[in-house]
């Protein structure tokens, strides 16, 4: 099974059954099942159909999570996604009110996301000295600012014709439509990151940008693509968010960037780049969604839920470090 580069599978470290079982992903699956069990014990309403019905609101964030996974793998960060969701949602509402056909509205929504992401990418590639955190901090204020200005003093805009979006937010059997699309998106993104040369290049860029550059990898092109992608997915997120809220306002998408970054980190993707995969992020995303649904059904205050998620986030990010130091210690003992 020789790869394009002539590299064989043998050249990569063998994955033993033991390391598979002890991997981060399998740990996440255990946590996921634990959350499901916890949910069904503490809440009578935590049934299959209820969970699926509550999911669309959260699912919209998962679309962004995949693209954010790309961004984190190449050791960048994008905190403007929440604002892009707001802007895309606002513009789509205006298109809707102007009577544009549904397909045009969808194009507007995703197109605005695409443009915003593109702008982030252009600035990031032309001003490479700047950390993307700062660039997206600036564009975040600008995107939300444009949305605020276009909404005017009311600060909110709603769909006038909700038919199309009701369909987008509809169900097929017990499953929301967004659920299927998430699965499709998951398959595509996971495939791209783990099975294509483009994916390997992203890891290379994330591990060591300079080395990647000297190895002939088009670093700036990859950064541009990733930023455009995350913007586009923010547009997709806005689309499904509109299907649950039929309108946008100045607070739409507030805090989404933190939510999706938290999901990625919980899924084992390091913000320092070059590590983690989207399988873990997918499981982590669904785990957090289910946990929030379960705690929500206990009528726990939203802020307390955030405390729990904060603790989860830090603990989950700490574990690999602890693991590593245990390993190092074992090695040290063996060396003695």
């Amino acid at each position: 099974m020789a790869g394009k580069s002539g590299r064989t599978i043998d050249a990569t470290p063998k994955t033993s059954i033991k390391s598979r079982v002890l991997s981060w992903e399998s740990g996440l699956i255990v946590i996921f099942i634990a959350v499901l069990i916890f949910g069904s014990i503490v809440s009578k309403s935590f049934t299959f159909s209820n969970v699926l019905r509550e999911m669309p609101k959260y699912l919209s964030e998962l679309f962004m999570m995949y693209a954010m996974g790309f961004i984190l793998v190449i050791a960048e960060i994008d905190i403007s996604v929440g604002a892009i969701v707001c802007l895309a949602g606002t513009m789509t509402c205006f298109a809707n009110r102007a009577g544009a056909p549904l397909i045009v509205q969808i194009i507007v929504c995703i197109g605005v996301g695409f443009l915003c992401g593109c702008l982030n990418g252009v600035i990031a590639t032309h001003f490479q000295e700047l950390p993307t955190m700062i660039i997206t901090l600036g564009t975040q204020i600008i995107f939300r600012g444009i949305a605020e200005v276009s909404m005017g003093s009311g600060g909110s805009v709603s769909l006038s014709d909700t038919m199309g979006f009701a369909k987008i937010g509809g169900m097929v059997g017990p499953f929301p439509i967004a659920f299927f699309l998430i699965i499709i998106a998951a398959v595509i993104f996971i495939f791209v990151l783990s099975r294509t040369t483009f994916g390997r290049k992203m890891y290379a860029v994330g591990s060591n940008r300079t080395a990647a550059l000297y190895a002939g990898i088009p670093v700036q092109k990859i950064r541009q693509i990733c930023f455009t992608l995350v913007g586009t997915m923010a547009g997709v997120c806005a689309l499904f968010l509109l299907a649950t809220s039929f309108g946008a306002n100045t607070t739409t998408g507030q805090g989404f960037e933190m939510d999706v970054i938290a999901m990625c980190v919980f899924g084992g993707i390091a913000t320092t780049g070059g590590k983690g995969n989207l399988v873990g992020a997918t499981i982590a995303g669904f785990t957090i969604v289910c946990l929030r649904i379960a705690l929500g059904q206990l009528n726990m205050s939203g802020q307390t839920i955030l405390v729990i998620i904060g603790i989860l986030l830090i603990v989950s990010a700490l574990i690999p470090g602890i693991n590593q130091s245990v390993k190092n210690r074992r090695k040290a003992i063996a060396a003695k």
């Binding site: 700047l130 700062i134 975040q140 204020i141 802020q303 904060g310 986030l313 990010a317 470090g321």
Partner: protein
């Protein structure tokens, strides 16, 4: 000719000077646009007072960013300490101003220490660790508040300190900036922070305990956030669990405008001061020049991004000029 060139060099050669010039130009423009109503003693006092929290925390953020880190939990720490201080006054009737400030500082130190410990010993990315605590402290602020505010008469005595016309907030700011200016410039401690930020490995090799510096830096940040929490309760005479929500980005923006690099090792107290002042003047000026309030965020964003990009461009010209000189 020669003189002209050196003047140009001074302007582009130092971020502080170029920022100061931008600031002066902006002040003149605003002064004209507002028909001379901007630069009044009351207004200038208010600019400092209303932005005392950002200015205070920007100092801590400077230290954190010098080590190539970031702390987005600061406003949550602020709310948590502020809420405790407020509730102590409301429920327990505890009103000793000095003791309350001391307590706020201690709580802040504890929060910051925890950040530093986890980041340095647990090898966590600063943004992840502080994001976790951002949720945790904010949530706990709500738990402490139990859906109550401490405001008005509850904190009346404590609010005397930060009242409009009281010199309290200004004194805290001046002391903080003077102390930081001296520490960052002339003490080994300050130079160590720069060393860690410029190159952590090199710093380690040269005998600096990097972990300890990191813990110290985040603890300082926590201390300032805690103080800002108490100051916030005092200035606004109210403690609410959602106070300063999302304002950590303002603090970061102030530092960045002031020329602090997110990659670490570059930034100064004077620059931070000017950056925070720039941001404060902008926030104060926009409503005064007759702009509708819905335009404010957009303009703020554009200005922040523009300043940052211009900074990069001048830096590039400088580097190129330096290179040319070497070639000659």
């Amino acid at each position: 000719m020669n003189q002209k060139k050196s003047l140009w060099k001074i302007i582009t050669g130092s971020r502080e000077v170029s920022l100061l010039l931008i600031l002066i130009v902006m002040l003149i423009v605003v002064q004209i646009l507002s028909r001379g109503t901007f630069l009044t003693p009351t207004n200038i006092g208010q600019i400092f007072r209303n932005n005392a929290l950002t200015m205070l925390m920007a100092l801590g953020m400077l230290c954190v960013m010098l080590t190539a880190g970031i702390d987005i939990s600061i406003t949550s720490t602020l709310a948590f300490t502020g809420m405790i201080i407020g509730m102590l006054q409301k429920r327990a009737g505890f009103t000793n101003t000095f003791a309350l400030f001391l307590l706020a500082a201690l709580i802040g130190i504890a929060c910051g220490f925890l950040n530093g410990l986890i980041i340095s010993k647990g090898h966590l990315a600063p943004i992840i660790c502080t994001m976790g605590f951002m949720y945790i402290w904010r949530g706990l602020a709500y738990v402490v508040s139990n859906n109550q505010w401490a405001s008005g008469a509850d904190v009346a005595k404590f609010a005397e300190f930060g009242k409009d016309g009281s010199v309290g907030p200004y004194i805290i700011l001046i002391i903080a900036y003077v102390v930081f200016f001296i520490v960052m410039k002339w003490t080994t401690f300050g130079r160590r922070i720069y060393a860690v930020g410029s190159n952590a490995d090199a710093a380690r090799v040269s005998g600096i305990n990097v972990d300890r510096v990191l813990i110290q830096v985040y603890t300082i940040m926590g201390l300032l956030a805690g103080l800002a929490g108490a100051l916030s309760v005092s200035i606004y005479a109210s403690a609410q669990p959602n106070m300063q929500y999302g304002k950590e980005m303002d603090v970061i923006a102030a530092c960045v405008i002031g020329g602090t690099s997110m990659n670490g090792g570059r930034g100064s107290v004077v620059g931070t001061f000017l950056g925070a002042l720039f941001y404060a003047v902008l926030a104060k000026a926009l409503p005064l020049v007759g702009l509708d309030s819905i335009w404010q965020n957009l303009i703020k964003g554009v200005v922040v991004l523009a300043v940052v990009l211009i900074n990069v461009l001048t830096q590039r010209t400088m580097d190129r000029a330096a290179l040319e000189r070497r070639e000659m």
